[in-house]
Symmetry: C2
Subunit: 655 residues, 2 copies
């Protein structure tokens, strides 16, 4: 019944000029490392092999890491004085690119070089850098990041492992005080790690002082001997089979009075003298804790970046499939319809594609900002800038990994039965990406953090307050909390100036109008949320106030992040050097905006930010933009520049 | 930091009276088989074992099926005259219950007894029943259902396998004419099946006639010998690793001129005489095709039912976890907050719980209707009733499996890192459920089918028309297509009578108002969709008209299904014998309604079916109802009556 020729799809051919322009825009500042890795990773043997059981899957990933190490992959993440090449952006983009091959490879690399390595680099001092950095770069030292506990995932300040200083021996005693103090889900703990950067409550007193809890600090703790056996007092175990990431050996540590030398405290922000005297350049326990955590956000940024890459890969697979797959007769019965020609299919995939572009540009900016901040001498970083960076990293990680998880699910379903076979990769991606919404910060908890920062104007005093304390703090704030303290970008300001202050009076296709709609939503949500909290200033039960406002707060945070994402997109278009690429990006940006508005249309209507007529125009606009972008679908996914061997999928051969 | 006692959660204790009442309501007409299987399945060894590779996983499932067979599990699905006990409802509920243990067990059982067995039972005649039914019930004969092809999943009428009758030998020649004609994703084809019910284009001519394609028919085709080797002309292969369902041996068949005796045509609806003469009691090829397919909907109903069970199991796990898991300090710092006390967590889980109740009641009605229809003598079934049944099965399968997939994803994420470990089951459920949105009909295609039926008033002539033909048909329909032909249930009529015709003038808590909102949405969408199609009657390009209306049509279909689901829920409350259960169900139904309205609020606002004030009340209502149901969360999941051993999950021990 199906004839060979289908006149509706003359567009499988990529528009190479536009692809090049788009790719340059997407590649951004670390284009070089992307291009290098495009060549290095163009090997189908790097794809996950579902036939391998846990042990061989882990061995495969470790072998691939060793290959990377031999090519000096990891040195960018470490400062030159510690033996690295000091290029944070390059390190993150490199990790992100690994995600195109195998998310297990990315995660295990991220644990070793980003989390464990980052802890040694950023929380340690010269004695640690000299002894460990070179070895951990080239994998002579396999580490892990012992933060999460069975009882405490999101609430790190409440973790229960203790490190009690014993002045008689000059050692810390690491102890899992309760069953819930067990370190859990730790990458590397299952099999390969011989050491761990363990977070624990430091308890010490100086001469004549009662030993006191000084809060969470990080310790370098050997866990396995050269023979792979647990060291005395350490009990490791394996998390076993998971929803994905088979190549990552997640596991657990239980510490039973494990003794480590005093020097194993990673002592950049606090130290314990031989006699037990505690000292720190940062007086406030709270500020010290958040300063330490703040140095570790590279992991969170990498996770967000890689989630973006995974979503792009899924879209490349699903859209290429939708361009070869045909189903049901065309009107005259001579050929079958290419499934991407169906509106329902366009509506499934193309808005997600547009959002993926938006997130990619935002991620590039975040990576660059992290690079710039971490390239400064620590003491010269403006604390407010660091604060904004952390909030942006939290928001984009949640926004981007939620998008990735959703997108990969939709892509799997859009490829039907073929999408369910591991040979076509989407089902593997789907299992792997799932936990990206959880690790490096649960998405709901992170979004809430962004909201709390936003409402609390990034104020130092409010950090670490519990919900009730935070409500009291915000309710008591003087002045207008709605004022955004960040500078408005030039390009955004220009666009705002060229549009009417009342968005209703300006065309919806006007970029300035679009920005206003996003900004007005954010301001409205922030203002009304603050009002609710203020009204509750005298409430008997501030926790209830917090809880009743929680959905409002989360919504304000997401609106904030989405506005930042839009502005990144606009900046990227502005900077795009290729005229044809910039023109196409304009339409992609429109689709991102229209579908974001559509997804939240009830809010815009309820709060009269858009009229019923405009709401209907938004719906129609999504359809129209899908139709306009349909002929460019292949161009848009080719522009990602995913190595062709990593897109191996038999379903693409026959549709 | 965490103290032992948390005063906010005194409600872990189940209210057993209410549980009993709820369970009776949920169990419905086949309570007996549910209770029997609750005992039989209360064994943790029935849970999937992620450590088993493909072969052992499949062997485990086959062994479990043999155990079921030895307990006469499958005979209910077959008529007494064929050696069964003739209780279709029991068969479906039995299959559904298997889903609580292992979805692989459900799927492989469903393929053997529902799809393959159903094809023999419903498309075969005495010669097939006598030879095969007893053997397939007790697994002496392992079959498969050879419908889907690599090139054609959703469009069964277009499949390309041929069965050409050769009058010289009295045989059919089965042939995979093109690479895309390969049978694909077939459960059992990978390893165990020795025969297959193969769907193919029947080509035959009588004496002096040119051989003609008579459309798709079903053939009994041996595929493997007793030694497990492929029979001559048959090439089987294995689909290998998948996103889940590891215990199901999906595979492929390629037929190269495979000869089978004429008697192997399953000839209830058509036959071929020795000389090649084709005959059928149903003259129209199209009607015959749809009549045959219509007898096979049991598979679709079972898949929908089981998806519902899987969603309930995920909710039971996630809600029990949310009742033991604590995170972050309460106001006075003496204990930590149980996570189900957070509004954000309630909002994640409780609306899905309410929708699961709604779907369970709707599914029970569908199962009962299928039972009643299939218990009649075939010739006495009212064709319109059969048509409504098929549409209802398609709609509820799409609605329910989409809900299940989404719910299990949310539940996994709501359990954080613990949810990602296979030992806690959610990640396995997540992988297994995914394809339920695809097999037995892609959800988008099924929803579209419901829409086409609805707009075409279930008219016989429109079946099998392509998109353009269907548009022409609907555009040319005389009279008001919006009239719903089904009778209004008594309980619904009574409620409608007790509410104002204008929903705005009646309280939103009034059940009659709620029904009106759902009904008005459906009518509005159906009417406006029909108008768009009618206007296009003279369009040059009816496919474009169809395509531009596709999202509208899908929305009308979903609104229709959701209205039916609500009315099933209302009927179930009406019939509920326990006062405390009925009262609680009333609140659950409210939450279902409010959250369904909230999910589609932009539509209700844009089309002025709710005012802005009412929209805000709906948002608040969801929050209030979550709070009201929070103390009953454990009661509500205990009422599902999932065997306790099947809820084994270490995370429930320590939170």
């Amino acid at each position: 019944m199906a004839a060979e020729i289908d006149p509706t799809t003359p567009d499988q051919i990529t528009d190479t000029t536009t692809v090049d322009g788009l790719r340059a825009a997407l590649d951004g500042r670390w284009k070089d490392v992307r291009d290098e890795l495009r060549i290095a990773l163009d090997r189908a043997d790097l794809l996950p092999d579902p036939a391998l059981d846990l042990g061989p899957s882990r061995a495969k990933i470790l072998a691939e890491m060793k290959e990377l190490a031999s090519q000096n992959f990891a040195s960018a993440g470490f400062r030159t004085e510690h033996g690295g090449t000091g290029d944070v952006g390059r390190a993150i983009v490199g990790i992100e690119m690994l995600g195109y091959a195998d998310l297990s490879l990315m995660v295990k690399s991220g644990v070793q070089w980003g989390l464990f390595g980052g802890a040694v680099e950023n929380l340690g001092t010269a004695r640690h850098h000299e002894r460990y950095v070179a070895d951990l770069i080239d994998l002579k030292l396999l580490g892990s990041f012992g933060m999460t506990e069975t009882g405490h995932g999101s609430n790190v300040q409440a973790l229960e492992t203790t490190a009690t200083y014993d002045p008689n021996t000059g050692e810390f005693v690491i102890d899992s005080t309760t069953p819930l103090a067990r370190k859990d889900y730790i990458g590397g703990a299952g099999e390969h790690a011989t050491v761990s950067a363990v977070f624990a409550q430091l308890i010490t007193g100086g001469p004549g002082e009662e030993p006191t809890n000084r809060g969470v600090h990080c310790f370098f703790v050997p866990v396995r001997g050269d023979d792979g056996e647990d060291l005395p007092g350490v009990t490791t175990s394996d998390c076993g089979y998971k929803g994905g990431l088979r190549g990552v050996d997640n596991g657990r540590f239980v510490f039973n009075e494990v003794r480590i030398p005093r020097e194993n405290l990673l002592n950049r922000y606090a130290d314990v003298a031989a006699d037990g005297t505690y000292s720190s350049p940062i007086e406030s326990d709270n500020r010290r804790f958040f300063t330490m955590l703040g140095t570790l956000i590279r992991g969170r940024v990498s996770v967000g970046a890689t989630a973006g890459a995974a979503a792009r890969k899924a879209l490349a697979l699903a859209i290429r499939y939708a361009l070869v797959r045909k189903q049901f007769d065309a009107p005259d019965g001579t050929y079958e319809i290419t499934i991407l020609d169906y509106r329902a299919h366009q509506r499934k995939l193309l808005p997600l594609l547009a959002k993926s572009y938006a997130i990619a540009f935002a991620q590039n900016e975040l990576t660059a900002e992290l690079h710039d901040v971490q390239s400064l001498e620590a003491d010269t970083v403006d604390p407010h800038r660091q604060r904004l960076l952390e909030s942006w990293a939290a928001g984009l990680k949640a926004y981007g990994s939620g998008h990735a998880s959703h997108t990969i699910n939709v892509c799997r379903e859009a490829c039907g039965g073929a999408g369910y076979l591991d040979e076509n990769q989407l089902s593997i991606l789907r299992g792997d990406i799932d936990v990206f919404t959880t690790f490096e910060g649960d998405n709901t908890v992170l979004t809430q953090l962004v909201g709390k920062e936003l409402l609390g104007s990034y104020s130092d005093e409010m950090r670490g307050l519990n919900a009730a304390g935070w409500v009291r703090f915000v309710a008591g704030m003087v002045g207008d909390v709605v004022a955004e303290k960040t500078a408005v970008r030039q390009v955004v300001q220009t666009l705002l100036d060229s549009s009417d202050e009342d968005p209703d009076k300006s065309e919806l296709t006007n970029r300035g109008t679009q920005i206003r709609l996003f900004r007005n939503r954010e301001d409205h949500l922030r203002r009304t949320c603050a009002q609710r909290l203020r009204k509750a200033a005298d409430a008997d039960d501030p926790f209830t106030v917090f809880n009743n406002t929680q959905d409002h707060l989360l919504k304000a945070a997401t609106a904030h992040t989405e506005r930042l994402v839009l502005e990144s997109f606009i900046e990227a278009i502005d900077k795009c050097d290729s005229r044809s690429a910039a023109e196409l990006l304009g339409k992609v940006c429109d689709l991102f905006v229209y579908s974001a508005l559509e997804a939240d249309l009830s809010w815009f209507l309820m709060h009269r930010h858009v009229s019923v007529e405009r709401a209907k125009a938004i719906r129609r606009g999504v359809n129209d933009l899908c139709e306009q972008l349909r002929p460019h679908a292949r161009t848009l996914v080719d522009a990602f520049g995913i190595p062709e061997a990593l897109l191996t999928a038999p379903m693409l051969e026959h549709g």
